[in-house]
Symmetry: C2
Subunit: 331 residues, 2 copies
């Protein structure tokens, strides 16, 4: 097995976040799923944008955010995702490449436009996401280069992209290529509603031993296992996955690796501004530790620190010098 | 004279700010004019964007930022400026309307695209701006509705837009319409290099008594008067303008109105994150006080408080609830 030239390659949605503040009443009036992620079509996106306050645009996409964190920590990364040939596609492409991440997939001509996520942030920092996937779901299976997958130590997959047929085919192809090359596969189911639609697929991947590292939050674990009790869920899932990581928002996170359980408290922050990307950056910190061979405890701590940076400002891409931020806090 | 239905109508550039952090060395390497504003063409914008780190996109434009501040404080505002029919034009249009500002000018078809300002923010919070004006300078004189100008208590003009012929014609038309309706005219020369090119025009406007409120910083005042000494510059300019407001960054600001001089210290901030929009928001606070009939001292204080909000985060549009922010600090 040759030494891979990348630490992590990820497949995920290529999305621009459109982030606005709103009060709690607006969430009710607009009938939004508070704290969740809802898929919307072009017409809904148009209507919801009109109802939104002044916004800021920052590149997003769950797996892409994780890579931005990994790259900021010093990992070598590549991204596979689909933007359109439009200004938002240029913005996404610029931002991911400027973060030092390889992004070889050409922009797609014609409709639909580059995907965007309309994010309403309430005064408690909670984000409510409404995603128009646009070009993101048109990632063709042939955009996937098996040699590139084989050349990364870890393949990281985002469940959000399991829905449409072509990207799902691309991910299955990537899993096979990674396995064949003896690489590790990390996976996040992304969201409970994704699990509701693809539970059988995800469980069969897990049962087949295709997932080396699984990231989920406690709600997603419950959706995946069908078990509401946290401890019972852990007990059911942990034996099937080499590294299971479950995040619990302000209650920190738990990891079980090789039968050994570790946990970390949430890193304190002065003020939670916007929780967008908390899970993505937790995964970034954990995975960075993982590819660098750190202990599971240190991986968890890295994850918690990275998550604390991202929730202290708007947007899901690191704003501080993440390496310095982590170095100050790891002690 | 009928009661106007708007407090302030402004004519200015319609620009999206593209804001990235950089270190001091990058400013040198890229040969940028630290702390200033440089006009760049499409090719330069392309090259500079490629050299820029991951960015955030936030609506900008000097006068438009001032209106966003005014509207957040509760003023009724309108904006005249030109975007293109593209995604960044949609973003600008959305943001200004979502701020409650009337924006009647239709987007322009074809090239050039919507203008953008590539802003490099150094660790001290200083911003270095590089502006590709794009569609902004294609504002046609006929886009200006004299009835709308006559229906606002104050016409606010941005010097940046004095350069191209058509928008300059629009501004001259607006000045005449405002005068005829007995409205006040507020003006900012925007930047020393604009003054270098149009000093004679600006001085003749001032000498003709066309400017009721002039906003400039100390460097712009020196460029306008040709007098390096601050006090001598004030002494020369103040008798010609009913309300002269001169900002001095961390040294606060001075106003002379009807021969009476007032001054204010800079409002303290925990951390200067990004000075983009400091002057624009100072003007917003001052003008809000002015249209509400406050004392010049209170107008200055309002300006300083609004400027302190904008420099404590990225971007030149208010992020906090500006009304509450001001109420807490005005005492």
């Amino acid at each position: 097995m040759t030494q891979p030239s990348l630490d992590v390659i990820a497949i995920g949605n290529a999305i621009i976040d459109v982030i606005a503040n709103c009060d709690d009443a607006a969430i009710e009036e607009l009938g939004l799923a508070r704290g969740g992620m809802t898929l919307i079509d072009a017409d809904q996106a148009h209507g919801l944008y009109a109802a939104m306050g002044p916004a800021r645009e920052i590149s997003g996409g769950s797996a892409a955010n994780t890579l931005a964190g990994l790259a900021a920590l010093g990992a070598r990364c590549g991204f596979v995702g689909q933007v359109a040939q439009d200004q938002l596609g240029e913005v996404f492409t610029h931002d991911i490449r400027a973060a030092g991440i390889e992004f070889p997939v050409p922009a797609r001509a014609g409709d639909p436009p580059t995907g965007r996520c309309l994010i309403f942030v309430t005064p408690d920092g909670q984000r409510t996401m409404n995603t128009f996937l646009g070009a993101s779901h048109y990632l063709p299976a042939e955009a996937l280069d098996e040699a590139v997958i084989a050349d990364a130590a870890v393949l990281y997959l985002e469940g959000y992209l399991w829905d449409p047929e072509e990207p799902r085919a691309a991910m299955r192809k990537a899993i096979a290529a990674a396995r064949k090359a003896g690489r590790k596969i990390a996976f996040t189911p992304s969201e409970s509603f994704v699990i509701d639609r693809h539970r059988a697929d995800f469980l069969s991947l897990i049962d087949a031993g295709e997932i080396d590292v699984l990231f989920c939050n406690e709600h997603e674990m419950a959706a995946l296992t069908g078990i509401a009790d946290f401890e019972a869920g852990i007990a059911m899932l942990a034996p099937k996955i080499p590294v299971l990581v479950v995040t619990r928002s302000q209650d920190g996170a738990v990891a079980v690796a090789g039968g050994v359980r570790s946990q970390v408290a949430a890193e304190p922050v002065d003020k939670v501004v916007d929780t967008t990307g908390a899970g993505d950056l937790f995964a970034a910190g954990f995975l960075f530790g993982h590819v660098r061979g750190m202990t599971v405890s240190d991986c968890l701590r890295l994850g918690a620190i990275c998550a604390s940076e991202i929730i202290s400002h708007y947007g899901a891409r690191p704003e501080e010098d993440l390496k310095a931020f982590v170095a100050e806090r790891m002690g």
